[in-house]
């Protein structure tokens, strides 16, 4: 998502790393580059100005840490400023001691309120809460139907009775009390921040339900306009937080910086995919690391902890080091890995992965095909691929619905990759290289797909 921004910074900082000392001129140049990068990433012009001013001031100031080179220092400063701008510490939803707790969602048309409402409901439900969805979008045709379908999918009741949005919202609260639901999520119609009538209506809904949290739903692809929107909504309904949606695209997401800076409200959740489970708390520190191309290892670990069986993983690591890693092991680990989400998202979280790889399109179907091929092998073949001869190859290809070329290619690649991984894990064992990048001498084109990696 923020890749392009990180790439840009990476370019600047590679140059910086090779220098011993920073002059004022260097800092000016860096500031210019950072400004350009932030503008291209749709960060609001005013916000960029403020951010650059702060960075420059600090870079010029006498914050000398002995352990850091000047370049590292700038990186640290930019990182800290981004974290500060993106919201400091993460914040949780407030919980009303006297249930139900009410969460109001508002935003422009098409920012993703209805989807966010359902995702939030699912997230709360997973968290042991008992949410109720209220469909107060009577504007867009079939919006309530959409919410009902989504509610059914996540197993959360949906209430939408009444003739106007205020009444619907109020009835929703009553319904929640009647059903003993302790969270109410009110989905409102999309509205332009300059539409006086609709903004008044939003205020009326707010007054009727007295929300514990009022969240603004913002599309990550929004441009300069994000600032105006956020300001107006903050004024109307006393926002308490932001939900950033469509972060799974390649928008650089400068809107996140802008909105946070202008409203002072934290970004609390991020929508990261089309599925209802693609919803997570927003972590400013992680996001800032990501902007700077430092990878998002924390999220990766968190996901891994949920998906991986620690013991099995340890065994597999050991096998990998010993060079005894088989296709069967690979299959097991791959299955666990796939529980963590789309491969592309995972790769994006790894630090030090070259841009070309990170931006490559990953087709999950290919993973399924690989799985099919391995599943069509016997146990013997999986642990000792050298026994695979011509007729076995044909059988495997037929069994997996692929061609013998596919089987051949998989075997060839597996061999190369497992050798590389072995080397990689050995390097790691010595502790010289932590997970900071690909092993030395790694050349993706050596993997030998026809045409190499011309992406």
């Amino acid at each position: 998502m923020f890749d392009s921004l990180s790439d840009r910074f990476e370019g600047i900082f590679t140059r910086l790393r090779s220098r011993g000392k920073l002059t004022e001129k260097d800092i000016d140049e860096i500031a210019r580059e950072i400004r350009l990068a932030l503008l291209e990433a749709d960060v609001n012009v005013r916000v960029v100005k403020a951010l650059i001013a702060r960075i420059k001031e600090r870079a010029n100031g006498a914050e000398v840490a002995k352990s850091l080179s000047p370049a590292q220092q700038v990186i640290k400063i930019v990182h800290e400023e981004l974290v500060a701008t993106l919201g400091g510490d993460a914040r949780k939803l407030s919980v009303n001691p006297k249930p139900p707790t009410v969460v109001l969602l508002a935003g422009l048309q098409g920012s993703g309120k209805t989807t966010a409402a359902a995702k939030l409901a699912r997230w709360l439900e997973r968290d042991g809460k008992r949410p109720l969805l209220v469909g107060a979008d009577l504007q867009r045709p079939a919006a309530v139907e959409q919410l009902k379908v989504l509610g059914e999918r996540v197993g959360v009741p949906v209430s939408s009775t009444g003739s106007d949005p205020v009444e619907v919202a109020r009835n929703g609260i009553d319904e929640a009390i009647r059903l003993g639901r302790n969270f109410v999520i009110v989905d409102t119609a999309g509205r332009l921040q300059i539409d006086v009538e609709l903004m008044d209506e939003l205020r009326a809904i707010r007054d009727a339900v007295n929300p514990d949290d009022s969240l603004l739903v913002v599309d990550a692809m929004t441009g300069q306009e994000a600032v105006n929107v956020a300001e107006a909504f903050a004024e109307t309904v006393d926002l308490t937080g932001i939900v950033l949606t469509k972060l799974d695209g390649d928008a650089r997401g400068g809107a996140a910086l802008s909105v946070k800076e202008v409203t002072g409200r934290p970004i609390m959740f991020a929508g990261v995919g089309e599925k209802l489970e693609d919803f997570e708390p927003f972590y400013p520190d992680r996001m800032a690391s990501r902007i700077l191309g430092m990878g998002d290892v924390l999220t990766l670990i968190e996901k891994a902890e949920q998906a991986f069986d620690a013991e099995q993983a340890a065994v597999a690591t050991e096998k990998l080091r010993q060079g005894e890693f088989t296709l069967q092991d690979f299959l097991e680990q791959m299955r666990q890995m796939r529980k963590m989400g789309p491969l592309q998202n995972l790769v994006a979280m790894l630090p030090g992965v070259p841009k070309e790889l990170r931006n490559a399109d990953v087709d999950e179907g290919e993973l399924a095909r690989i799985e099919a091929i391995i599943c069509s092998m016997t146990m013997e073949e999986r642990s000792n691929p050298t026994v695979i001869n011509g007729s076995r190859r044909i059988r495997i290809a037929q069994g997996s619905g692929t061609t013998t070329q596919d089987v051949n290619q998989l075997l060839k690649q597996f061999k190369q990759v497992s050798q590389m991984m072995k080397q990689f894990s050995r390097v790691n064992k010595k502790g010289k290289r932590k997970l900071t990048g690909l092993p030395p001498g790694f050349d993706p084109s050596a993997l030998g797909g026809p045409g190499g990696l011309k992406l």
Partner: protein
């Protein structure tokens, strides 16, 4: 190395391993599909093509029985707007916080100085024009200022800017109309990312066509978003035009296929296909879109427009969207929606510059009438005002 780091390393390794295994295969299959050319389907598409593409009668799709008769004559005359359709400038003008950046320049008056150029640049950036295009526009205005006399007055700046933008836009295309097929059904495909207003725009275009006396059929090829087809069905009901829809979660290809069938059988003039919103980074979904286009192209000459619907509040990501959708389905035009807010939609300047794809229509609200043809001069004026 500490033990706690081991699983992390392992995971990293697996992710990379799996990734590297997959990657060359994708490259290959993409090359294959490219080699296959436009006519032949790729030898191995990412998802096996559902049978429905070949079997239109598959039970997944239903054509609503209410073959809506041509009510257009009655309904439309009734609804024919007594007043003029909304104009871009009226709508935009009402709340414009104006071109804030330029105000300072104008207030100061006098000659155009370096500060004025900076403010002009900032103003364009604030309108989402983007760095590259902003630079080039500013250069263009500078040239104009120089031509007008060595020291032009700041007062002249808005006019110079307006002229520059208008000329740029006019250079892209003079014809910004939606094209109709010479004979047989005309098909317009609506594409775009999630939440830009494809369904609403589809309805608005339908309304215009009905008013022009054309027989319109809407194809609800958004089978993914919950109740998207319901939304379009409500519009079809309101507008009194026919609708072809499938099952939620069904194959959009089947919907398009049936719509093409129905269009021929019912002698429909215009078929508007509303597709599901998709982020341009999702390879599978973009391939699905390519498939929908191929299905339409089976009827030669039918596909006249592929319209990218773009939210006016979109920032520089709009450029990427245009690039990706153009690459996948050859967009022929852009519909800029939600321009009734304070968003200025400046990114279309960059899009027209870079891809030579004209903006054809502008959406100005949620009503069925709030759609107007794009007018470069008006847009430029609105941008500068």
């Amino acid at each position: 190395m500490s033990e706690s780091l081991a699983p992390i390393v392992l995971i990293g390794i697996f992710v990379l391993a799996a990734f590297l295994l997959v990657l060359p295969r994708i490259v290959r299959s993409r090359e294959a599909s490219r080699d296959g050319g436009a006519t032949a389907a790729p030898s191995r598409p990412s998802t096996p093509p559902p049978l429905a593409e070949a079997a239109p009668a598959a039970a997944t799709t239903e054509v609503p029985p209410e073959l809506v008769e041509e009510i257009e004559s009655i309904e439309v005359v009734e609804e024919a707007p007594p007043d003029e359709p909304p104009r871009l400038r009226d709508r935009i003008g009402k709340t414009r916080a104006s071109f804030a950046g330029l105000l300072g320049v104008l207030r100061r008056g006098g000659k155009i100085d370096a500060a004025a150029w900076d403010e002009l640049e900032e103003a364009l950036l604030l309108a989402d024009v983007g760095m590259t295009t902003t630079q080039s526009v500013v250069d263009g205005v500078k040239a104009r200022a120089a031509a007008a006399g060595a020291d032009a007055d700041a007062d002249a700046l808005p006019d110079l800017l307006r002229a520059e933008i208008t000329e740029r836009l006019e250079a892209t295309a003079t014809d910004r109309s939606l094209h109709h097929a010479a004979e047989g059904p005309t098909v317009w495909l609506m594409v775009g990312v999630n939440g830009v207003g494809k369904t609403t725009t589809t309805a608005k275009i339908a309304k215009r066509e009905i008013a022009d006396g054309n027989k319109v059929l809407l194809a609800a090829a958004d089978t993914f978003r919950a109740a998207a087809a319901d939304q379009l069905a409500k519009w079809a009901d309101r507008l009194g035009c026919a609708l072809v829809r499938g099952q939620d979660g069904g194959d959009p290809g089947a919907v398009v296929f049936d719509a093409m069938d129905a269009a021929t059988a019912r002698r429909t003039d215009v078929v508007i296909v509303d597709t599901a919103g998709r982020l341009h980074t999702k390879v599978n979904l973009m391939r699905e879109l390519e498939k929908l286009k191929r299905i339409v192209e089976r009827t030669p000459g039918a596909l006249q427009e592929v319209l990218l619907v773009l939210d006016a509040s979109t920032g520089q990501n709009g450029l990427t969207q245009a690039r990706e959708f153009a690459g996948a389905v050859d967009i022929t035009g852009v519909v800029l929606t939600k321009l009734d807010g304070t968003a200025k939609g400046g990114v279309v300047l960059a899009i027209e510059d870079e891809f030579q794809v004209p903006v054809k229509l502008v959406g100005l609200g949620e009503g069925a009438d709030d759609l107007v043809p794009f007018d470069p001069a008006e847009f430029a004026a609105a941008l500068v005002e």
